[in-house]
């Protein structure tokens, strides 16, 4: 299996604190990988490192053999990595539809001049984007909220909208940061189905950070476990479940 993302011995230090140390991680194409660990283990830092919010102090990150170090977040998104956030970060003053349409900005061929001349090329692209955004909303059963301000959506739908928005950037790798946070068991089950559905339907890889063991163990093929910035285990869900170091990190001595 060819690797899509390769994190090569990456370390991040904030002053004296080593948030992530010597992380090695590979994600193959069309793979569903989990990243777990107790609070403060450095999971979100790994996300921020992959998406360019933080630069690794040491080590390199590659996407399809292209080095991502030094690129800005928007450059990295343009190369095919999209993410959601632990605390929902939608564009609060926009409608559901506009939130999704905004994410098409990335692949836009028209510039500001076209927006003013409003020629045929501009109109074609706008209606094309409209159609694609609507299709995406339909897939996730959100089209009935089309013109609703996104902040008025129910919590679970806001989370799903964030995923839709990320998918609108046409990623090859989708990073989900605690998508199940604040969801009840029924919603969690639905989420698990949804993530597997996304992975298949859009033919992409998914890296999932999650606290909820049931969700991670249920859908991930491979799992990385972080504790205090160190990778303490890696493997299939069954191995992780039995790993003494993981048990110790989660439950104590």
């Amino acid at each position: 299996m060819s690797s899509l993302l390769k994190v090569d011995r990456c370390t991040i230090r904030f002053g004296g604190l080593t948030a992530v140390s010597n992380l090695d991680m590979t994600i193959g194409s069309r793979e569903l990988v989990g990243l777990i660990g107790p609070n403060g283990a450095g999971k979100t830092t790994v996300f921020n490192m992959i998406t360019g919010v933080y630069q690794p102090t040491e080590g390199s990150i590659f996407l399809n053999d292209e080095r991502l170090n030094g690129l800005k977040p928007f450059n990295i998104t343009a190369r095919g990595i999209a993410r959601t956030f632990q605390n929902i970060r939608l564009f609060v003053s926009l409608t559901v539809f506009d939130n999704v349409r905004a994410a098409f900005n990335l692949h836009l061929k028209n510039g500001p001049i076209h927006a003013l001349t409003r020629g045929g090329k501009f109109k074609r692209e706008e209606s094309d984007i409209e159609e694609q955004a609507l299709d995406l909303l339909k897939i996730f059963n959100l089209e009935r909220f089309r013109d609703v301000m996104c902040k008025n959506l129910p919590y679970g739908d806001q989370r799903r909208l964030e995923i839709v928005r990320a998918l609108a950037t046409k990623p090859r790798l989708l990073l989900l940061d605690e998508p199940a946070a604040g969801m009840n068991p029924t919603e969690k089950s639905a989420l698990m189905t949804l993530i597997e559905f996304i992975q298949e339907k859009f033919d992409i890889s998914v890296l999932l950070v999650e606290h909820d063991m049931r969700v991670v163990m249920g859908i991930c093929k491979r799992i990385y476990v972080l504790d205090y910035g160190l990778t303490i285990a890696e493997g299939a869900p069954e191995e992780i479940r039995r790993d003494p170091k993981v048990i110790q990190a989660y439950l104590g001595e």
């Binding site: 998406t51 919010v53 800005k72 977040p73 928007f74 998104t77 343009a78 999209a82 993410r83 956030f85 970060r89 939608l90 564009f91 609060v92 003053s93 926009l94 409608t95 506009d98 349409r101 905004a102 994410a103 098409f104 900005n105 990335l106 836009l108 028209n110 510039g111 500001p112 076209h114 927006a115 003013l116 409003r118 501009f122 692209e125 706008e126 984007i129 009935r144 909220f145 013109d147 609703v148 301000m149 902040k151 008025n152 959506l153 928005r165 990320a166 609108a168 950037t169």
Partner: protein, 366 residues
């Protein structure tokens, strides 16, 4: 937006016809209202362009008067010095083109309107350049920090002008060629409105709104937030520059003091009062806030006010401080009105920050 271009064209044609009529019957009485009319147009340009920066893109700029000053002085020097020297250089007694033109009997001259258009665009472009120069280094800052930097920029421009003798320093600069009229002022206002609305109502322009809402999320969606901020800044500065140019070529005289910090604040007040990110609201606010101080001035000198005072005092049997005096201090009243407006409608006249676009209630159930 669909018919916006047609509307713009119709508006400009009407304006042109109107300008033909209004320009000539010039009486002294009439020119006071004419003054206010032009000021309304200039303030609309200022407020609409600042709204792109402060309202739609969410970057708090306090330097609009600085860009206006750049435009005003650039246009002033163009129409007073640079323009005539270039004409002279080309077609003067020893001009470059004179040997070519003279045998043909061609006289090179620039009409009033062309002169105005050229110097206004020149003022706008220089202001846009200034916007670029300020924008690129300072737009990494956010919120209050950006406000302070832009405020500093405005003061630097003012102080620079104050010390450049060529521009008249503290004496101010006389501008020859006062060709600003209703047509050009409202023409530029219409163009400013069209450009801002056209930009914002597109997938490209939705980038401005995402920068305002959440920069981190915008970057994660592949949006180059710095680029958007700079574009908003440059476009805003360009129109502030044209407003300054029109102003300079209307009054025929500009001083650095005309572009101080309070001028910037005036424009910010229009934007906030109109509702951040609502172009219609900002236009209404610009009109209201230009008329209101003049209206209060007129009100203070009517017979109605002393009469009202006498009848009031006869009813409540208490001597009141002279109302006329209060009204003559119209700026106090003006400020009071602003405070009341902000207390009762903090989101602005038309605004609600969460989008002046349509809002639909969520469907009841699945």
């Amino acid at each position: 937006m669909r018919h916006a271009r047609a509307l713009l064209a119709v508006f400009l044609v009407l304006l042109f016809l109107f300008a033909l009529f209004i320009e000539h019957p010039f009486s002294t009485h009439f020119s006071y209202y004419y003054d206010i009319l032009i000021n309304i147009g200039i303030n609309i340009i200022l407020a609409v362009s600042l709204n792109l920066v402060n309202g739609y893109t969410g970057q708090f700029s306090l330097g609009h008067a600085g860009f206006m000053a750049v435009g005003a002085y650039a246009a002033g020097s163009w129409s007073t010095h640079l323009g005539p020297s270039i004409i002279n250089l080309l077609a003067g007694s020893s001009g470059i083109l004179t040997p070519l033109l003279q045998p043909l009997g061609i006289q090179l001259a620039v009409g009033d309107n062309v002169s105005l258009l050229i110097s206004t665009l020149f003022g706008g472009l220089l202001a846009a350049l200034a916007g670029l120069a300020v924008g690129i280094p300072s737009l990494r800052l956010r919120g209050d920090y950006l406000a302070i930097v832009t405020l500093g920029f405005g003061e630097i421009i003012r102080t620079l002008i104050l010390n450049i003798d060529f521009l008249g320093a503290a004496r101010g600069m006389s501008v020859t060629g006062t060709y600003t009229n209703v047509f050009w002022t409202f023409g530029f206002a219409a163009v400013a409105i069209y450009v801002v609305l056209g930009l914002v109502n597109s997938t490209y322009g939705r980038g401005f709104l995402t920068v305002r809402d959440d920069e981190v999320a915008a970057e994660a969606m592949g949006i180059n937030t710095t680029k958007y901020k700079v574009i908003a800044f440059v476009v805003g500065a360009f129109f502030a520059g044209t407003a300054g140019s029109l102003y300079a070529q209307f009054t025929g005289y500009v001083t650095p003091e005309g572009f101080n910090f309070f001028k910037s604040v005036d424009v910010v007040v229009m934007v906030i009062l109109g509702g951040m990110g609502s172009t219609a609201g900002v236009v209404v606010a610009a009109i209201l806030l230009t008329i209101l101080p003049e209206l209060l001035r007129t009100l203070a000198h009517t017979d109605f006010v002393p009469a009202l005072q006498t009848s009031l005092e006869s009813v409540i049997k208490i001597h009141l401080p002279p109302l006329q005096g209060l009204l003559e201090n119209r700026l106090i009243l003006y400020s009071l009105l602003l405070i009341i407006l902000m207390l009762t409608r903090p989101q602005g006249l038309f605004g609600d920050l969460a989008g002046s676009r349509k809002r639909v209630a969520p469907p009841a159930s699945k």
